[in-house]
């Protein structure tokens, strides 16, 4: 055997991930209009309904609002973090299953030099991009209401959304790679996504919950995300706690990423 055949140049991870850029650009070109409109309109609807209208009814004792002076200021960071979660999970449930089962795009990809782990990496980068743009717009719209403390905090909060997005995207990617059919999504949406949305401190301080539920809420990734975002946006950073939030979401990202790559590898290896 020739040397060419037995010791070919190894193709690097970055190279393999980069080769998928054109695919994701074409996907984005096809879908950006819809997502752009919703990422602009959604925050306006939420802020108007929850912050301004609902907030108008709420008798606020600022000491109960975790450092916020108005309900609008309290709820705005929660809405952003919840939006990060929803964007990330939305991009990693049906779309992942579609690429496994319906369009079978992953099978086309794995016939080329790409490995499942390269595919996961590229898709997670795309989801990160989606979260970054969606939450970036969301934050800018909210900033117009004058509820945030500082530009620096705003920037850090934006980075925090990327971390929140990754924590959810990696775990949900892994889940979708295991799931046999889409009925599992409805269950997970009702039992995991919606309860976190409602009870993880986005809309009211979790101190209002009974003690066991409060304790449970503190374990959810979204609470860590909401609390981190709120600290950064309101300028009430409690550094040790902030680091706990970052570590928690970071650990989830690493674990979820590893799990997603290994599950997709298993799923695609017929």
């Amino acid at each position: 055997m020739s040397d060419v055949a037995t010791t070919p140049r190894r193709i690097g991870r970055l190279d393999l991930v980069g080769r998928q850029l054109d695919y994701w650009v074409t996907v984005y070109k096809r879908t950006w209009r819809g997502s752009a409109v919703s990422s602009f309109v959604m925050p306006l609807l939420y802020v108007t309904a929850m912050g301004v209208l609902l907030g108008g009814f709420i008798e606020q004792d600022p000491s109960t609002l975790e450092g916020a002076t108005t309900y609008l200021a309290f709820v705005a960071p929660g809405l952003v973090a919840a939006h990060a979660m929803q964007t990330a999970t939305g991009e990693t449930m049906w779309p992942v299953m579609a690429m496994i089962k319906w369009s079978r795009t992953y099978y086309a990809m794995t016939a080329t030099p790409l490995r499942p782990s390269d595919i996961v990496a590229a898709q997670l980068l795309f989801v990160t991009f989606r979260v970054a743009t969606a939450c970036g717009v969301f934050l800018l719209v909210l900033a117009a209401f004058g509820v945030f403390a500082s530009p620096g905090g705003l920037l850090l909060a934006w980075l925090a959304q990327i971390l929140i997005g990754l924590a959810f995207a990696t775990v949900f990617f892994a889940f979708s790679a295991i799931l046999k059919n889409e009925s599992g999504f409805a269950i997970v949406y009702r039992l995991v996504v919606i309860p976190q949305f409602l009870f993880s401190g986005a809309f009211f301080p979790i101190g209002n919950l009974p003690p066991t539920l409060e304790w449970l809420a503190r374990l959810t990734p979204l609470w860590h995300g909401v609390d981190l975002t709120r600290m950064l946006l309101l300028g009430t950073v409690d550094l040790p706690l902030a680091l706990v939030h970052v570590a928690y979401l970071g650990a989830l990202t690493v674990l979820g990423w590893w799990f997603a790559a290994s599950r997709l590898t298993k799923r695609l290896a017929l």
Partner: protein, 326 residues
């Protein structure tokens, strides 16, 4: 489309003792799905430049074997080398030099015809400008140039198949894997595809294909293995296989429904071998006309009859007791 030739020629001189390089080398190759063993220990050698076929009925294990060779499905046992490399550890390197046309299309319905080639070509790290040129070349090669902007959804089955083959060529592979390239196509579309595959072979591309059409195997393959239930039951060139496992000619006799079993005994001595199928009797003999004349002499009058040469279909029937295409 001249492939960058790998060093795959037979070595001479001081390296003569070395085995010639093989495009695919499998020993005792196995594939199990849970408890079920789909491939049960096969040995395969594919030489550079040849067209090699896997012929077998549904469920024989052809696609399972192809997916292992394509370095996407890990073998459950045995040894496999593709282009001299180990699929378990050098998957990306192997896949960058092979082209794959899977049994079920995996074209992207959301992209247009040309973008399917371009996006796929990018996965091989081919620069954008070059991949664009190759896409246009390949679309002409498979006669889809006028459909470049069409949606994949709107293509006919034969067009999709051609597009899949074009896509599998975008990296100028040394080895092309075609899993049932023409199943479901009309005769015209099949002949167009065969012609394209011939041309690739002339350019030096090694072809490995599966089929359950014996005429396709006879037309395209230099060498083939007959697979059944996960095992190789025969191996050789189409001609060798026919010579070895069948007679030169076959007389086919059709009688009334249900009569074939009983009549078989009456003509058994007229041929080397008689096969009873539900709808006809097959008399294997070196001289079909002669056998037919004797059948008539005995006062038997089949409602229909013909004499033909033996084909791989007969080889398969002989080896497995079953017909190939059901």
């Amino acid at each position: 489309m001249s492939p960058s030739q790998p060093d795959t020629g037979v070595k001479t001189g001081q390296h003569a003792a070395e085995a010639p390089a093989l495009m695919v080398r499998a020993r005792e190759l196995r594939k199990a799905y849970g408890d079920f063993e789909a491939v049960r220990g096969i040995d395969v050698d594919v030489r550079p430049g040849e067209a090699f076929g896997f012929l077998g009925p549904n469920g024989a294990g052809k696609s399972s074997t192809m997916r292992m060779i394509a370095a996407v499905s890990p073998p459950s046992g045995g040894d496999l080398r593709v282009l001299g490399m180990d699929p378990a550890t050098q998957g990306p390197e192997i896949r960058s030099r092979i082209g794959v046309c899977p049994q079920e299309d995996t074209l992207d319905n959301e992209l247009n015809v040309r973008d399917n080639l371009v996006v796929y070509g990018r996965y091989f790290g081919i620069p954008r400008k070059e991949v664009a040129e190759r896409a246009d070349e390949l679309l002409s090669f498979v006669q889809l140039a006028d459909r470049a902007k069409a949606k994949v959804e709107d293509l006919s089955g034969g067009m999709k198949r051609r597009l899949t083959i074009a896509r599998s060529l975008v990296n100028r592979p040394d080895l092309l894997l075609l899993d049932e390239p023409t199943t479901g196509l009309d005769p015209q579309a099949r002949h167009l595809l065969w012609d394209r595959l011939f041309r690739l072979k002339q350019q030096g591309v090694t072809l490995v294909l599966t089929t359950h059409y014996m005429d396709e195997a006879e037309q395209l393959c230099d060498r083939l293995v007959v697979m059944d239930a996960g095992r190789i039951v025969a191996e050789g060139s189409p001609l060798e296989l026919i010579r070895e496992h069948s007679t030169r000619e076959v007389a086919e006799l059709r009688f009334g429904v249900g009569e074939h079993g009983a009549l078989a005994e009456k003509v058994a001595d007229l041929a080397e071998r008689v096969e009873v199928l539900p709808d006809r009797l097959l008399l294997y003999t070196s001289d079909g006309e002669e056998a037919l004349a004797r059948v008539h002499e005995r006062g038997l009058s089949p409602v229909a009859f013909l004499v033909r040469r033996s084909t791989l279909e007969d080889v398969f029937l002989r080896l497995t007791g079953r017909t190939l295409v059901d």
